[in-house]
């Protein structure tokens, strides 16, 4: 096989992260283009199309990856040169910064990518039966396609920006799948919770990208790894590690994953069991050269990994439903992987990761039928655990991680959002004249043929009297909804709002700072 041909094939194949996106778009077009199904038979008739598109795309991706795998193995056996990264062009450039669209096919991305595509394929195949006649069947397949695309970007990306795109695609699709049953309040609330918590990691990722761009001059994995400036490396590593810890739900960012089980079981399998929860570990393995420069951070990784592993293990012991038990078992495994990274055993972590992905995917997909298969209920927690009441309670409470992050993350965010919204509603909307909920101003009196008079004077008098009538209706103090009462309520509202704002530490601090600014 000539090298040119190989290159051409690799170039063609490197659009593979885009294939599932195209498939998702195809499902969307198919959905939008058709009328809502009126009968069950019609709906049944439509399901296979969406599933077929998604499955076809995933299978195509898997085949392409397997081809590249074969080529890579061939290069090992026959000794020809295989480029480890394929440059397809410029993704975008801004000033001096150029972000290339470059994919990496190396011994790290190829095995993980293969397993990701494979797990996605079997999960989709499983879902085709599992979600049959569920509301949102097509939506599920579409979102999983988006997710697969995101994961492929993360795995095969040659630089941090492409990885970040994948990272976000995976985050958004996990948000969509947790809130799959959006008519349920818990589902949407949990989806929001997961999304908001994940934004912390995203912020870390973005900070790291910015540092790399500004101080290192590039975002390629290679460039990031080769930079030797302690402070910069440390800051960048800190950002990436934050992102990885959140995505892999390590302590203390792990709360979101406990709530993410709201999604359908296949999505749990693919997101938390098998694929997405490993994205953080994968990122750390990818950043091995960078991490090796900051040994103290690696010690932190060991610590966090071990804490996560122990706490999740204890929690898993006390869970009574299969999905939660599997989830916490997964977390304890990822904790171990993290610790392995911390110790510098990156290859070990990779092997662990690959094996674990396959095994957990199988377990999660089997979970719905576990009772039928095993024929017995969940075993009680071990005696040594249940005899230690405090530990048992803590494990049952999942070590209060959930309520802690509720207080630390969720509440400030929703407070801020509420403040912004009330600002919008009360001031900006009224200034800009944006349409609002209809105000309760008494409607002008309807035309009254008994009162109306002919002639200009009559018409003028009628118009004048209508205006006066409107004024009159405002003068009376009415029990119900009146101007005066509304003004009082509004004023009271404003005062209460101001009071509330001042009570908040952040606004108090702003106030104090403003005072200082004025004084100085």
């Amino acid at each position: 096989m000539s090298t040119e041909l190989l290159h051409a094939v690799l170039h063609t194949a490197s659009v593979l992260p885009l294939i599932p996106l195209v498939a998702a778009a195809g499902i969307a077009v198919q959905q939008l283009g058709s009328q809502p199904a009126t009968s069950l038979a019609e709906a049944d008739h439509r399901e296979p199309a969406a599933a077929r598109i998604a499955l076809g795309a995933t299978a195509l991706v898997l085949i392409l990856i397997l081809l590249i795998d074969a080529a890579a193995i061939g290069s090992l056996i026959f000794g020809y040169h295989l480029p480890s990264s394929i440059l397809l062009g410029t993704f975008f450039s801004s000033g001096d910064h150029v972000i290339p669209y470059v994919l990496t096919f190396d011994s790290l991305s190829l095995p993980v990518g293969t397993i990701v595509a494979f797990v996605a394929l079997i999960t989709l195949r499983f879902s085709r039966q599992y979600l049959h006649r569920e509301a949102g069947f097509q939506r599920f397949f579409m979102v999983v396609c988006i997710f697969l695309s995101g994961m492929l970007f993360v795995v095969f990306s040659g630089n941090a920006v492409l990885a970040f795109i994948g990272w976000e695609l995976a985050g958004v699709s996990s948000y969509l799948l947790i809130g799959f049953a959006y008519e349920r309040h818990t589902a949407t609330r949990n989806a929001q919770f997961a999304f908001v918590t994940n934004r912390i990691g995203d912020a870390g990722f973005m900070v790291a990208i910015a540092i790399s761009l500004i101080y290192i001059g590039g975002v390629g994995w290679h460039e990031i790894g080769q930079h030797h400036e302690a402070l910069i490396s440390r800051l960048a590593a800190l950002g990436f590690v934050t992102a990885a810890l959140v995505k892999s739900a390590q302590w203390p960012f792990g709360a979101w994953i406990g709530r993410a089980l709201e999604g359908p079981t296949p999505s749990s399998a693919i997101f938390y069991g098998a694929v997405m929860v490993h994205a953080g570990i994968f990122l750390l393995i990818r950043l091995e050269p960078l991490l090796l420069q900051v040994p103290d951070l690696m010690i932190l990784l060991i610590f966090i990994g071990l804490v996560t592993a122990v706490l999740s293990w204890l929690t898993a012991l006390t869970q009574t439903d299969i999905k939660s038990a599997l989830l916490f078992a997964t977390l304890s495994q990822t904790g171990l992987m993290l610790a392995a990274c911390g110790f510098g055993f990156f290859r070990l972590a990779l092997a662990h990761l690959c094996a674990h992905m396959l095994w957990r995917a199988y377990q999660f997909l089997r979970a719905p039928a576990i009772l039928a298969l095993s024929g017995r209920p969940a075993p009680p927690p071990a005696a040594w655990l249940s005899s230690r009441a405090w530990l048992h309670t803590a494990a049952l409470q999942r070590f209060w991680i959930d309520s802690l992050s509720q207080i630390a993350v969720m509440r400030p965010f929703s407070q801020l959002a509420r403040d912004a919204r009330s600002l919008e509603e009360r001031f900006i909307a009224s200034i800009s004249g944006a349409p609002q909920a209809p105000a309760l101003i008494p409607s002008p009196a309807p035309l009254d043929p008994l009162i109306q008079s002919p002639g200009t004077v009559g018409r003028l008098l009628y118009a004048l009297s209508n205006h006066l009538l409107a004024l009159e209706s405002r003068l009376a103090l009415q029990g119900g909804d009146t101007q005066a009462r509304r003004i009082f309520l509004l004023a009271g509202d404003y005062f209460r709002q101001a009071e509330n704002l001042i009570e908040h530490p952040r606004y108090l601090i702003i106030l104090v700072m403003l005072t200082f600014v004025v004084i100085l």
Binding site: A445, I451, S465, L468
Partner: protein
């Protein structure tokens, strides 16, 4: 003498409270006898009244609170006597008209008589503290009358009425206390306080005057202080607006007359502004009366318009204007009483008081129609009715003060003619043919309406006695201003 007049209705109320509630007929008879007694006694006072004296007559005074200098003193002059008569007369009319109701009669008549007593107290008090107490006392029976026995929105109406009036009274009380504090001499006696207050600086007078004006303005009502008006008039028990509009609106104007005697500098300073408010109220009320389909609301706004005319008369600050204002008060009391009486009777019979409800009323109930037409014409101020005399005097006074600007009264007459004639055209409508109804005005109602019409036309054709009665006091008050 006057304290006896006050105590007649009060005793009557006690008497009625003792009668078992189920004997509605007896209660009505007692109420009728008591109110007729009060009317007779006030007529007796009229015969003993010396029309050539501008001073206070029938004066009596008892110690009430020596520490504050508050006294129980009563007395009348030519401003208050016509209003006393009006009060006793209209109360009789209300009693005569409310003979169809059956339930809640005891409460109704009790409250009505207490109300009468309180109003008589307002008009005859010669002590500001006593005046204030009676002023507030009128609120209590009215609140319960509206709140317990009123229409569908009675609670809202009662609350509105009381909140507005109380809100005004607070300012009045503060002003009275300020006056008490500022004027040397210890006591609330009206004469002495007026003497003392006249010596105050103009700024102090103005401060006091504004407080009083807000209190009085709510009752009159002056434009912007009239928010309670429509609801109270339309939701009060069916015939209570006769008292509300016929008498209680006069309390505000009467108080203003008394205040202008005590604070002439302030009055002179604000009379221009008062005139502006009077004209606005006049036209505003007129336009809104024209706009209403609900007859009671129409009469309510026309009442506001007519009180604007009275206010304009007071604002002229000359003898003609003051005389005109007092005659307008009397005339409007009679006419508004008559209008509310007729509308109430129509409402009782037709079940509604929309403009549509009176279509062809003339075919069904000719007596009601005749009285309604007469009342409407009187409210326009047709020559030959009391309103004409009043408006003429106010026009003369206004002309003397502001020249041709006073012609704006003509606009209000035009407006009132517009709605009166429209109503009359509905009354006379022959679009549909109706049979004669058997329940035209009963004897008592006929008597009440005839008396009112007779007095309105009597004053309109023979204004001499009333003018003579009022003129002395009006001239004396006008002397302080010199317009």
């Amino acid at each position: 003498m006057l304290s006896l007049l006050l105590s007649i209705p009060l005793l009557g109320a006690l008497l009625i409270a003792a009668v078992p509630g189920r004997r509605a007929g007896l209660i009505q008879s007692v109420a009728l006898v008591v109110t007729v007694c009060a009317l007779a006694y006030s007529l007796f006072l009229l015969t003993r009244f010396d029309a050539n004296s501008a001073g206070i007559q029938f004066f009596e005074s008892y110690t009430w609170n020596p520490r504050l200098g508050a006294r129980f003193s009563f007395g009348v002059d030519a401003f208050s006597l016509p209003l006393l008569l009006l009060t006793t007369l209209l109360t009789v009319v209300v009693v005569l008209a409310s003979c169809r109701k059956k339930e809640g009669m005891r409460l109704y008549f009790c409250l009505l008589l207490i109300l009468e007593s309180a109003i008589l107290g307002v008009f005859s008090a010669r002590d500001w503290s006593l005046f204030y107490v009676f002023w507030e006392l009128t609120l209590i029976p009215l609140f319960f009358l509206i709140d317990r026995l009123g229409g569908l929105q009675r609670q809202r109406a009662a609350l509105n009425f009381v909140l507005y009036t109380l809100g005004g009274s607070v300012f009045m009380l503060i002003a009275l206390l300020f006056m008490y504090d500022a004027a040397p001499g210890n006591g609330f006696d009206m004469g002495a306080m007026a003497e003392a207050a006249r010596t105050l600086s103009r700024d102090k007078q103005l401060a006091i005057f504004f407080g009083l004006l807000i209190g009085f303005g709510v009752k009159m009502p002056i434009f912007l202080l009239h928010g309670w008006l429509r609801l109270a008039y339309t939701e009060a028990p069916i015939f209570i607006p006769i008292i509300l509009s016929g008498v209680m609106a006069k309390m505000g104007a009467y108080g203003l007359l008394r205040a202008s005697a005590a604070l002439p500098d302030a009055m002179a300073a604000v009379s221009g502004g008062l005139a502006v408010f009077a004209v606005i109220g006049m036209l505003y009320g007129g336009v809104l009366a024209w706009r209403q389909r609900d007859l009671k609301a129409m009469v309510a706004y026309s009442s506001m318009s007519h009180m604007g005319v009275a206010l304009l008369g007071i604002a002229t600050l000359n003898a003609a204007g003051f005389s005109g204002a007092v005659i307008q008060m009397v005339s409007h009391g009679l006419v508004a009483g008559l209008l509310f009486l007729i509308v109430g009777l129509i409402q009782e019979r037709q079940g509604g008081r929309d403009l549509l409800d009176i279509d062809g009323l003339g075919q069904r109930r000719p007596r009601l129609m005749i009285f309604f037409v007469l009342a409407l014409l009187a409210s326009v101020g047709l020559p030959g009715t009391a309103g004409f005399i009043a408006e003429l005097h106010i026009l003369i006074g206004g002309f003397a003060r502001w020249g041709f600007l006073a012609m704006v009264i003509g606009l209000s007459v035009l407006l009132s003619a517009a709605y009166a004639l429209r109503t009359i055209s509905h009354l006379m409508s022959t679009k549909n043919q109706y049979a004669l109804a058997s329940d035209d005005m009963a004897r008592g109602e006929l008597l009440a309406a005839s008396v009112l019409v007779a007095i309105v036309i009597g004053i309109g054709t023979l204004p001499g006695p009333l003018l003579a009665l009022v003129h002395v006091s009006a001239a004396q008050l006008a002397q302080r201003f010199g317009y």
